[in-house]
Symmetry: D3
Amino acid sequence: MKILIINPNSDPTMTKAIGRTAAAFAGGAYETECRPTPGAPKFIETYEDAAKAAPGMLALVRENESGSDGFVVACHCDPNLDLLKEATNKPVVGIGEASMKIASMLGHRFSVLSSARHSIPNKEALIRSYHLEGLLASVRAVEKGDFIKAGRTAIDQDGAEVIVLGCAGMTGLDKKLQAALDAPVLDGVICGLILAHGLARYGVGPSKVRRYQPR
Amino acid sequence: MKILIINPNSDPTMTKAIGRTAAAFAGGAYETECRPTPGAPKFIETYEDAAKAAPGMLALVRENESGSDGFVVACHCDPNLDLLKEATNKPVVGIGEASMKIASMLGHRFSVLSSARHSIPNKEALIRSYHLEGLLASVRAVEKGDFIKAGRTAIDQDGAEVIVLGCAGMTGLDKKLQAALDAPVLDGVICGLILAHGLARYGVGPSKVRRYQPR
Amino acid sequence: MKILIINPNSDPTMTKAIGRTAAAFAGGAYETECRPTPGAPKFIETYEDAAKAAPGMLALVRENESGSDGFVVACHCDPNLDLLKEATNKPVVGIGEASMKIASMLGHRFSVLSSARHSIPNKEALIRSYHLEGLLASVRAVEKGDFIKAGRTAIDQDGAEVIVLGCAGMTGLDKKLQAALDAPVLDGVICGLILAHGLARYGVGPSKVRRYQPR
Amino acid sequence: MKILIINPNSDPTMTKAIGRTAAAFAGGAYETECRPTPGAPKFIETYEDAAKAAPGMLALVRENESGSDGFVVACHCDPNLDLLKEATNKPVVGIGEASMKIASMLGHRFSVLSSARHSIPNKEALIRSYHLEGLLASVRAVEKGDFIKAGRTAIDQDGAEVIVLGCAGMTGLDKKLQAALDAPVLDGVICGLILAHGLARYGVGPSKVRRYQPR
Amino acid sequence: MKILIINPNSDPTMTKAIGRTAAAFAGGAYETECRPTPGAPKFIETYEDAAKAAPGMLALVRENESGSDGFVVACHCDPNLDLLKEATNKPVVGIGEASMKIASMLGHRFSVLSSARHSIPNKEALIRSYHLEGLLASVRAVEKGDFIKAGRTAIDQDGAEVIVLGCAGMTGLDKKLQAALDAPVLDGVICGLILAHGLARYGVGPSKVRRYQPR
Amino acid sequence: MKILIINPNSDPTMTKAIGRTAAAFAGGAYETECRPTPGAPKFIETYEDAAKAAPGMLALVRENESGSDGFVVACHCDPNLDLLKEATNKPVVGIGEASMKIASMLGHRFSVLSSARHSIPNKEALIRSYHLEGLLASVRAVEKGDFIKAGRTAIDQDGAEVIVLGCAGMTGLDKKLQAALDAPVLDGVICGLILAHGLARYGVGPSKVRRYQPR
């Protein structure tokens, strides 16, 4: 069994970091591979970035469909996720969707740590599209790289009980932050892997009844 | 003053029909032009169709920004609307957004007539993204081209008080249907024009504070 | 074509100011006239004020129906708006409804600047009646006449991306405030005019199917 | 202790029927009186009817404030309720608000039986203003006076577990209908009395902090 | 007529205090009795506390059903309320449900004063289960026993217009706090009594249609 | 690694069936065991059934905490789930929560097949507690054992795109029904296992910040 992890940007460093996290979590029980998106920008931040990543992401799914059992989209804003769910019968899991839905199972409310204030409204729009707005404590931008302070504020002031790392580039920070905050901290890459692998093993993928039915 | 109407597909017949509706409504008070999207599919139905239309739509906005005072996106699923709002300081209005928000000002609930059952969930997701789900009576697929029957059912069974034409390809049907149903029927092209022209005249466009701020 | 603007209060100064804003925006393309409401209080603030304005507002609509193509209710709390929509087949647009629905098309969330803390809950109740509560960043009372500070706080602390002037008496402040805040600022009088004129031109008014059906 | 019941219309027959229900329920434990509204229409159905009832209702409250311990507004559309809450420090209870909030304590969802289809949207708007829309099974118009059939359909098809009589004119039908349906049936007049008397005895009335603060 | 008040914990001091409040409010018009729950913990704070109280609460209802006309559950987290509504045909009212629904009738938004920050999420979950989250200003923990400060902050900062005492153990504080805050302050025990007595007198109890139907 | 599956009822046949499904899915990659709840009823249907199962379920968790890496609660109404999340630091997953949150990742809306009409409101209340009501197409009772008909109706009439088996006793029906309906069909036992095993492997459990903090 193999899960292909699509890094929607073209940054090789981030691709490697995501791949390391995934391989460590899978632990040899199944194969994982992380691939950057050809033709995509170095970082996905704007609507234009997401649009530019679409053709390459679609190509990755199509070219690797037969050799993969499931896909993870490894950018926390879940760019082009509907597009990929439409394109394949194999399970496709966004790390934003996976981490925030799992967070909702572990505590009363969750906060998302975000790399920039600029991206807060886009994250909020994503959260609403998943019907999770009532379970959100806050989206908090990390100021000056101080994750512990941002997480502590989310817990103490915003009422968060679970922390979600809001960018694939934060992969690997979960356990240290969890120890510092004494609260669950979720890395979307691992959450995505849990669900993509589980669904692949279960043999279910996107429903083709209407919304994700291709022409 | 000139409003450029972007038809997100590449169908020349639909482009002409939209252009006719727009010119008739503007009545010479301002200039309108409808352009098809280069490189786009003939019809926008799936997520892939929308993704394929993105580069051409973006190019149309960029190439015509200096010569236009505002833009209308003339497909009722408002494809790539956030992308275009991010790309320009000029007003950008989707005909889905415009027609449904105007509908909410004219009666208790509105129904959208849709060309196919396949597209109902996508329309519902769009409606939720505009926070309009509580004002929606139904999305009704028109069976066998019988618009009057679909509209009548929406009014009598679903509780609609206003009817929205759910596809730019339905342009021109509004007045005949309105007469038959004795209820307001809205053509998105005209609704989009009212708002795009009004905003252009007012001198306001997409806020660049955060969500639509380009890099 | 003529749009009659009903100032729900009886203050001649405010009536004139609203009329000036409207005439300047219409720019001769259509006729506008602003009339105070006979028998109404000098300012609409309480539920009793709104009730006292009702007979005069209704009379203005009835007496001017044949000579007007549409109506704007120029008080940002949209007093007696349902009553007037019921009373006529011509379009009736409240400046609260118009400005806040247009605001929702220009950015992620909007804030309303209000003249007094007293009126915040009433404004919130109005916003909920329009199903706009999820798009509201805040209702902020302007302290000591400092609009720039109130708007800046709304943008920086509350997450607003668009500012709505929450009182017809603030007409004319939009452009200066917009320049200071670098974000769209909306004058309800102009927003109401855009929609009332557009709907009048389009030939649609309040649905008479059920909610606004008179006896 | 005395509760004044304001019948917002001017119909003497309905006034008497409401008075009888109230007196029977109070059973001598406290005084009740039902008064028609001077200057009001014979029946409250439209927004104009409600506006016309406002001055008389306000006068009834003001003239009887010192001699009454609480007020009930005995029309199920709760006309001018905010106006009266603003006007007095004594408790003011609408029979719509009282009956539907009590209904929400007795079962999963409630249905309102309404006298006419015309009034369904107005009732739905009222229900939303109380944040009760998620607890509503349906508003059902009673066809041809068949209350049992309407109630049965609400229970079997719409999922109602409690039935609310949606018009003060239906007073007295509760117990017979309850026996026929084997489900709680609520008469708003009694629900209003329970709360108005209870609040009067408790010594609490409308908060004057902001929303119901008179000038 | 007799209302049995079930104190879900086993603390005799709190039981007496609740009993005193109830007897004073009933004033001899009907009988009230407050009983502690056999086998329950001294204080209900956690989910385990609530589970441990369930058998004793159920026994109290069953053993006293014939001798009581209605029940009040006198813990503001309404533990096992659904269980008791299922167990009897007599009205069962939780003091949390009663006080917060009554609060929603007296002002724009209410705040709940809570004894500990620990219990805020549980209270929020309860409030959502009653569909009251849109009417909530805040749940505020009382720091160092300063109820006036907590209430004042709720009113001034959170927008509350009505204050709800969030623990049966706060019974008796209402009138002093109301005088200090100049806003309605609600003791759940009295609110529960108003509704339980009113419903018992009216002859309605939990609907047995589906949700509260025992096997 | 071992996941203990708690069957909240005491039925040995259902316990075995659940155990078989779990073992087959785990496929030897980790250990699974299904245990009935001592002292619980044969079937969990009412609030009283759930209350009676609580002590045995709590005992199962406490006695098996050191020997288990995670827990699944294998009744689709997720009885006492908050209680168990409070009781342990190990992951606890309800099959209702798991299956419905996973369903929301596979299609636009999901329907739950329920064994009896009686349980529809309870399921709806559960769904709302998870903030999933906007993603629900319907809860459909299976009439006369015809699962295919119920699923087909959910898809065609209610707009479902994913089907959730709404009772642990339906375990094993998923693949046959999925083939018949050509839409994803989810067995909660497997969904619960995917998440409990994944979370156990990840090393995260219920947050102890506030809501699930034991005394």
